[in-house]
């Protein structure tokens, strides 16, 4: 049976606010490790640690750690709970190592892969529909950050509440199902945007039908090669603009 502790430890709010800077010292050695330790400092101080004791505790959290930044609070909350209940350092380290990979993958899928592009697509559709500039800006910032802040709060509070058993809560939440819905919404918006683009290409003054066909072929290229095609496309667009400028009207 899961032992649920509803109270929050002293320093939890300060640690929550620091989580908005958890990637401040992201680096190729410890990745989020130093940021994680930075966010733990208020919790450790409020537990009465100071001087060498505090420094030792901080160093114990400095190892390599990586996760999606919005979901790092799950681990922070759980570790705060575990330390408060006297769990051994080795057990905490094992827990961090075990959960970080799945949190990273889940966050990349849900946020970077689904939620962010879907909400940006909604802003792009609004922009192409000719709405005033503040409309797509506000719609994106409010909708995207509504999900962002809710996820941060949910993850941290679940971590604080369930400690080492937070993994069960993550499974129950079925966040991948949310990602699936965002994928579907994103695909719908993507279709709308592509449809608008194809009509725009068709309406081009010179060879409209050819431009539309080129657009469809380019879309197929992206669909076939995925991320491998992105950098090359960027390079080609820059080169074409450069060449046209160099060879253009003197």
């Amino acid at each position: 049976m899961t032992d649920v502790e509803p109270t929050r430890p002293p320093g939890w709010m300060s640690s929550l606010l620091r989580q908005f800077m958890i990637q401040g010292s992201w680096n190729y050695r410890s990745m989020l490790g130093s940021g994680f330790a930075f966010c733990m400092i208020p919790l450790l101080r409020k537990r009465g640690l100071s001087g060498d004791g505090l420094d030792d505790a901080v160093r114990s959290h400095m190892d390599t750690f990586n996760s999606h930044p919005y979901l790092a609070g799950v681990v922070l909350g759980a570790v705060a709970r575990m330390e408060g209940s006297g769990t051994e350092t080795e057990t905490i380290e094992r827990f961090k190592r075990a959960i970080q990979g799945s949190l990273g993958g889940l966050g990349d899928l849900l946020i970077w892969g689904a939620w962010r592009p879907a909400t940006i697509l909604s802003a792009l559709v609004l922009a192409w529909a000719g709405t005033p500039p503040w409309v797509p800006v506000c719609v994106f910032l409010v909708v995207y950050n509504g999900g962002h802040l809710a996820l941060r709060w949910w993850g941290y509070s679940r971590g604080l509440q369930y400690g080492k058993d937070v993994g069960v809560q993550l499974q129950r939440a079925q966040l991948s199902r949310l990602a699936e819905r965002a994928f579907k919404g994103g695909a719908l918006l993507l279709g709308i945007l592509l449809g608008v683009f194809l009509v725009s290409l068709f309406a081009a003054q010179d060879a409209g039908a050819l431009w539309s066909l080129a657009g469809i072929a380019a879309f197929g290229l992206g669909l076939r090669f995925g991320h491998r095609a992105l950098r090359g496309t960027t390079l080609i667009v820059v080169l074409v603009i450069t060449l046209l400028t160099a060879l253009g009207n003197a």
């Binding site: 010292s25 130093s34 420094d55 279709g191 194809l198 669909l223 076939r224």
Partner: protein, 212 residues
């Protein structure tokens, strides 16, 4: 100087502080447009630049183009060049600065790793290193913005009058490039097979809506 400050703030939002996505091109571009007095142009350039960043996923600390300072440069160049040349040159400047910005992010991360490795860490030292890294990110973003504005602004001043294509053809050229990124994004959403119904429904709605 004010644009450098804006570029620095937007660089912070991308990774170090908040990640509220104010640094996305469609937002950063519009903000820059407001800052310079033409939000509609800012939105247009930002939205076009966004199409070229949309499919990128910064998974596991992989290097991705940096969009915040690049959006500032793109909009500033587009405003300076003006007209259809501004659209093309602004986009090219934005794409180049994005790549350079992404490279400087990688260099910064190596530098911070050296700070972290140097000596035994204490709570006080960690706090200092962490906050210094945030400050370094701001300075880096501001420097990328200034460098981009200087070089791209100078080049656009020389080449603006040489742009040969009318607006519709220029936009068509850019949209064809953007379609590659949209295709890659659909692949990221699960591919055509698994999203066929919703994607085609959207496509039809988009075509009908555009004609109406």
């Amino acid at each position: 100087m004010s644009l450098a400050f804006l570029g620095g703030l937007l660089a912070l939002d991308a990774t170090s502080v908040g990640q509220f996505m104010v640094s996305r091109p469609i937002i950063a571009g519009t903000l820059t447009g407001w800052w310079l007095g033409d939000p509609a142009l800012g939105l247009e350039i930002g939205a076009i630049l966004e199409l070229f960043h949309l499919a990128g996923v910064p998974a596991g600390g992989s290097r991705v183009p940096e969009s915040g300072p690049a959006s500032v440069v793109a909009v500033a160049v587009a405003m300076r060049a003006g007209g259809v040349a501004g659209l093309a040159l602004g986009l090219a400047a934005g794409l180049v600065v994005s790549e350079i910005g992404g490279t400087t992010v990688g260099l910064q991360r190596h530098m911070v790793a050296r700070f972290i490795e140097s000596g035994s860490m204490t709570a006080r030292k960690l706090t200092a290193v962490h906050l210094s890294s945030v400050l370094l990110d701001f300075v880096r973003g501001a420097a990328v913005t200034v460098a981009g504005l200087s070089v791209a602004g100078w080049l656009s001043g020389i080449f603006t009058s040489r742009w040969p294509l009318p607006y519709e053809t220029t936009l068509a050229l850019i949209l064809v490039g953007a379609c590659v990124h949209l295709g890659a994004l659909l692949r990221g959403f699960g591919g055509l097979k698994s999203r066929r119904a919703v994607f085609l429904a959207g496509l039809v709605a988009g075509i009908v809506g555009a004609y109406l």
